[in-house]
Symmetry: C2
Subunit: 235 residues, 2 copies
């Protein structure tokens, strides 16, 4: 992630300028809102990268501001404080997880099919900074209210993994097992990606998530997914 | 873990008293050393529990001392400071992992057999406070020298998992796969136990580690471990 050189996006002048030759009276407002959202996200990208690099307690908002080439007080146009920024970094990651689960549920399929889709997509999210923020930070650094939101969301992710496994056992695609512990084993393995993955390392998120999909579900499948009939060579 | 009420063990008088009716002139010294080791470990047990409960940055040595009913300066008889205590907590967990790996290597067997033993034993260690300290704390809180020791040990654990898988592929007990990613998937799942396990929860370390052993290795096994021949019922 290298979302630093955002001076242009963050300059105050650009924020108030309507796009040139714009026919609609609505766009300047939308454009302003978009510019504001983009700046807000730029702050979160710089913050999450710094928090992950240095650890939340060592990282300072002064350095976040420096990386964005803005002043520290300018950050308070977007956020009330460091722990709110931490929460919003988490929320960015959580939103992606919510979206991918909604997509999987909409598409349907057996429990095993949904589980495999979840493993692949969640694994890829874990290899992003916002994804890692779901598992690398300490909820005790948040306000009590936000900590409770995060804890409830974590439980919900666990329940989704468990739910797909339970569905799979019911529909026969997954062999009988302790769905709760199987879900912990799978989610834990994926969560750990957020701890070890380095974007400058040799492994792509896609390669990791595909390998993990096979590794983490092949033992559960009642018949190995994608198994091909064996061809016996004549020697 | 509840190693708190250690006032007796930690009283200064007991430390200097030889065991009653002791025939050997050596034992008082050994006994003193043992008492010192016990006190030192009591400090580590109190510290690791507090660090895990509150997070390293929030926890104070004053509270560690309070829990042991000793003064904060008394802690400095055993450790030079908070980060040294953190390192020694990690070292207690690492020692258990080193021991169990040495035991597995001494016993021998196929790659799959050794991998399954490692999964079971490492999973149980992760459900202890010292085991959790291998994965819950931030190496950046240590001195540079100690951080390097920890990083090297983490790499060594990864290599042990990977080595058993590679051995298993060679000896035919494990089917061909990307040994590096398979090792990450398995170790990650086990490391995550250190994040979610609660000793007051419904799951015993043994139940967890047994279920995880099956879940995490059954897909890798060339033939499922412990598979029974299918009995076809006559209806």
């Amino acid at each position: 992630m290298s979302q630093y050189g955002l001076n242009a996006t963050l300059s105050e002048t650009e924020m108030d300028m309507p796009p040139p030759s714009d026919p609609s009276p609505w766009l300047p407002f939308q454009s302003r809102r978009r510019a504001r959202d983009e700046k807000r996200e730029a702050v979160l990208r710089a913050a999450v990268a710094l928090f992950l690099e240095q650890g939340y307690h060592r990282a300072t908002l002064t350095e976040v501001a420096e990386r964005l080439n803005i002043t520290k007080p300018a950050l308070y146009n977007y956020f009330r404080g460091k722990d709110e920024i931490l929460f919003e970094c988490w929320a960015m990651g959580q939103e992606r997880v919510d979206d991918l689960i909604a997509g999987i549920n909409a598409e349907g399929g057996t429990g095993l099919v949904k589980l495999r889709r979840l493993v692949r997509a969640y694994g890829e999210v874990m290899a992003t900074d916002f994804g890692a923020s779901l598992v690398r930070f300490d909820v005790r650094d948040l306000s009590d209210k936000n900590a409770e939101v995060v804890r409830a969301a974590k439980r919900s992710i666990d329940h989704t993994f468990r739910g797909y496994i339970t569905e799979g056992i019911s529909d026969g695609s997954i062999k009988p097992c302790d769905a709760k512990l199987a879900a912990f084993a799978i989610a834990g393995s994926l969560n750990w990606i957020g701890h070890w993955y380095r974007s400058d390392g040799p492994l792509s998120p896609k390669a990791i998530s595909e390998e993990f999909t096979d590794r983490l579900t092949e033992g559960l499948a009642r018949r190995p997914a994608g198994a091909k009939p064996r061809v016996r060579l004549s020697r």
